[in-house]
Every structure is written in structure tokens, then in C-alpha cells.
Amino acid sequence: MPAVLTVDPRSGVPIYLQIIEQIKRSVALGVLAGGEQLPTVKQLALDLTVNPNTVARAYRELERDEVIETSPGRGSFVRNGQTGSARAAASDVSADALARVVREAKSIGLPAERVRTLFDAAMARWFPEEA
């Protein structure tokens, strides 16, 4: 696997969540293709210098979210039927990003209809064909 992961253990964001987020993003962007093998838990733990149980937890949740699959003795792979898992991952990553932006907008005191106007403007800019 390409070196697509960097985690910041000193951040307040749990390490396993950082790993999940980055693998989902890589799958969504196609940096990790369907069928591609992920490093073993041990290898990734050593590469990132983080606890292997933490990496294993991230892999378990990615499996539960149907982004990767693990077969005993062979290792972990990005799920085939790539489009399905990539679409799900893209949707998860985007939902997180949107939630952050909306929370931020609300926290600095924008009223809901103003946030919606901004959202519509952004939509019109990036999806002009739908306007």
C-alpha cells in the first residue's frame, strides 16, 4: 500500500478514528483500489509507531462498515465491488466534513436559513449542471 496514512498521536482525536477516516478517504479517492491489500496490523502499527491493538480496532470497524474485508491467513483487502464501498466511504467522509462545517456555522451564530443559502450557493458553484 502506498504511504497514504499519517496519524498524529498527540492529537485529541482517537488514533483509531484517524486511521479509519484516512483509509475511507483513500478508498473514496481511489488511492486505495478495490481488491488492494492493506498492510498487516503489525506492519501498519510499526509504520505509524502506534499500538497494534489500536490498528486492529480500526480494521475491525472498517470491516463492520464494509470498507475492507479480512480473510484469515491472507490479510485485509479493500472490498471488491469497489464502487459500492468507495461510494459508501465517500459518503461517510463527506457527511463528516459537512457536519463539521454546519456545526462551525452554527457555533459562530449563523441562523439556519443563512446556512442553507450558503449551502445552495456552494451547490450552484460545484454542480452548475443541476442548477
Binding site: 498521536p9 498527540r10 485529541g12 503489525k42 510499526l46 502506534v50 499500538n51 497494534p52 491493538n53
Partner: protein
């Protein structure tokens, strides 16, 4: 199943309760970080765990059984204070380790000596603090133990060798070794450990999985229109650890994901609300910060 279990461990020296009712379970294959300021009882806890100090009360067990002579064959210990012999060479220490532990791996020992650039002909007397720590680490890892007890295993090491020790701990954990580790370098514990406990004055003040502790400790900060807002019962809210009010700003240190508290602040009319993540150092400092359960600090 937990490999190492300490139940209600207490150790008193005269009137000093060095370890006070400490209960810790270390799951098999886990790296457990023991954090605490100097004198908090970390080393005494390790000594009780290994039978080097007799607990005043409480029990220690390994795989459900009390500590027995055979258990020591499976355990490697890096003590806080060097137990190396000044007049012996590094090589003689390795030889002693080979005779004491049937699981001693000569090739592994050689690799580890090279990793830390240690010379087997050198006497301990002529070694720096860092080299002594490195030798103690080499001795511990060369027996590929099932259980490791590491008391400050990186003290005196340069950053490169610190990272090497960290990688050895991670490698061992990937093989299933169960490790208990103490370190003042919280950044290292943050990487290597999956579980931690914080000791203060001999007591456990906080424990849990590192990632869960991070998910469950936040600061929620609200900015209000004027400084005349009510604290709305936050001081008695079980989730709130600390309340700081500075003019129009209210900062709450909470033991939750912060979402509900953030919504409550919005509901109180805060102009701006944000949830701030805390890293392990912040969480540690909060846990050892003496004071009432809920501090209300008012500033201006």
C-alpha cells in the same frame, strides 16, 4: 481474559500509603501505560506486582494464578534504577541472562546490541546513563518474554534510541506480549499504550482505553453576549469536571463527547460554541490536578 491482575493492592511504609487500593487489570496482549507524577507510587506498584515488595494487602495474579517461581521465566523487567553490576561487561550481563532464562535468544541479543550500538566488551562502570538504560532494554527483550514490566525504559536515551525502544514495544505487542509501562514521556505512552491508568498519591484517579479517554474528555467553550449568564447548574453536573468563567467566556472541561453540553450552551444563548479535543497530556494533567471534583474558577 486478563494476563495481569492487581486487586486492591495497598503498600504502606509506616504512615505513608505508597500504594492505596490499586486495582488494575491488564488484558492479554495489551500495552498498559502507568502515568503519574514523581512519587505517585508507580515503582512501588511494579515492585508489588513482581513480588519485590510485599503488599500490605491486596492480591496479584498472572493468568489467574499467584506469582510463582516459574512465572519469572516468562517476565522481563526493566527497573527504574539500574541493577547492572558496575564491574561486569555488557557481554557478561548477556551471559548471565542466558544462564537465567531458558528462552534467551542469542541472535536476538546480538541484533539488539547492534541496534543500540552497544559494545559487549564495555564495562558498565564506563557506560553513560543512556547506555545503561539501553543495556537493560537489550537484556529484557533478548528473552522474548510473554510479559514485560518496563519502568521508565527510555530514561537518558536520545530521541533515536527512544524511538527504537518504542518500536520494540510495538513489535512485542504485535506478537502478543503483555506489557506494563511507566514513562514520563506522555507522547510515547500515547503511541505505545492502548490502556492507561493515572496514579496520584498512590491511588488510581483515571483509567481506561486511550482512545476512549480521548473520545470522552473534551473542553466545551461558549462565548456569550454579556458576562451576565448563569452557570445553569453545570457546577453540579456529573459530566463536568471543571468550570472556568472568564468574562463572556465559559469553558467547561467535560467527561463526555461534549455534544450535549455544546447544545445546552447554544440553548442558553451562547453566540459561539466549540468543542475542543484533549490529548493524553491534557487528560493526564486534569487527572493529577488536585482540587475539588468540580473547580469553579472565575476570572475577568
Amino acid at each position: 481474559m486478563s494476563t495481569i491482575s492487581m486487586a486492591h493492592l495497598t503498600k504502606t511504609y509506616g504512615s505513608l500509603r505508597a500504594v492505596d487500593d490499586v486495582s488494575i487489570d491488564v488484558p492479554s496482549g495489551s500495552v498498559f501505560g502507568l502515568l503519574g507524577p514523581n512519587g505517585a507510587g508507580k515503582t512501588t506498584t511494579f515492585k508489588c506486582l513482581l513480588g519485590l515488595a510485599r503488599p500490605t494487602s491486596g492480591r496479584v495474579s498472572f493468568d489467574g494464578a499467584p506469582l510463582m517461581a516459574e512465572t519469572f521465566e516468562r517476565i522481563a523487567y526493566v527497573p527504574e534504577r539500574s541493577v547492572l553490576y558496575e564491574w561486569m561487561t555488557a557481554g557478561e550481563h548477556l551471559e548471565m541472562q542466558r544462564r537465567s532464562f531458558s528462552r534467551f535468544k542469542p541472535l536476538r541479543a546480538k541484533e539488539l546490541m547492534d541496534l543500540f550500538s552497544l559494545d559487549s566488551r564495555k564495562r558498565v562502570r564506563a557506560m553513560s546513563k543512556g547506555m545503561r538504560t539501553a543495556l537493560a532494554v537489550v537484556l529484557a527483550f533478548s528473552i522474548e518474554p510473554e510479559i514485560m514490566v518496563l519502568d521508565e525504559p527510555t530514561s537518558g536515551l536520545d530521541p533515536i534510541n527512544q524511538r527504537s525502544v518504542l518500536r520494540l514495544i510495538i513489535q512485542a505487542a504485535a506478537r502478543g506480549t503483555t506489557t506494563v509501562l511507566s514513562s514520563h514521556q506522555i507522547g510515547q505512552v500515547e503511541r505505545a499504550a492502548d490502556h492507561i491508568a493515572v496514579l496520584r498519591d498512590g491511588r488510581v484517579t483515571l483509567s481506561g482505553a486511550v482512545d476512549d479517554l480521548k473520545a470522552g474528555h473534551k473542553i466545551v467553550e461558549g462565548i456569550f453576549e454579556s458576562d451576565r449568564f448563569s452557570l445553569n447548574g453545570f457546577a453540579s453536573d456529573a459530566r463536568v469536571v471543571r468550570v472556568e468563567k472568564t468574562g463572556r467566556i465559559l469553558r467547561l472541561t467535560v467527561r463526555s463527547d461534549g455534544d450535549e453540553i455544546a447544545r445546552a450552551l447554544s440553548g442558553m444563548g451562547a453566540l459561539s460554541v466549540r468543542v475542543v479535543d484533549l490529548n493524553l497530556e491534557d487528560i493526564f494533567l486534569n487527572a493529577v490536578d488536585a482540587g475539588s471534583p468540580v473547580d469553579v474558577v472565575e476570572g475577568s
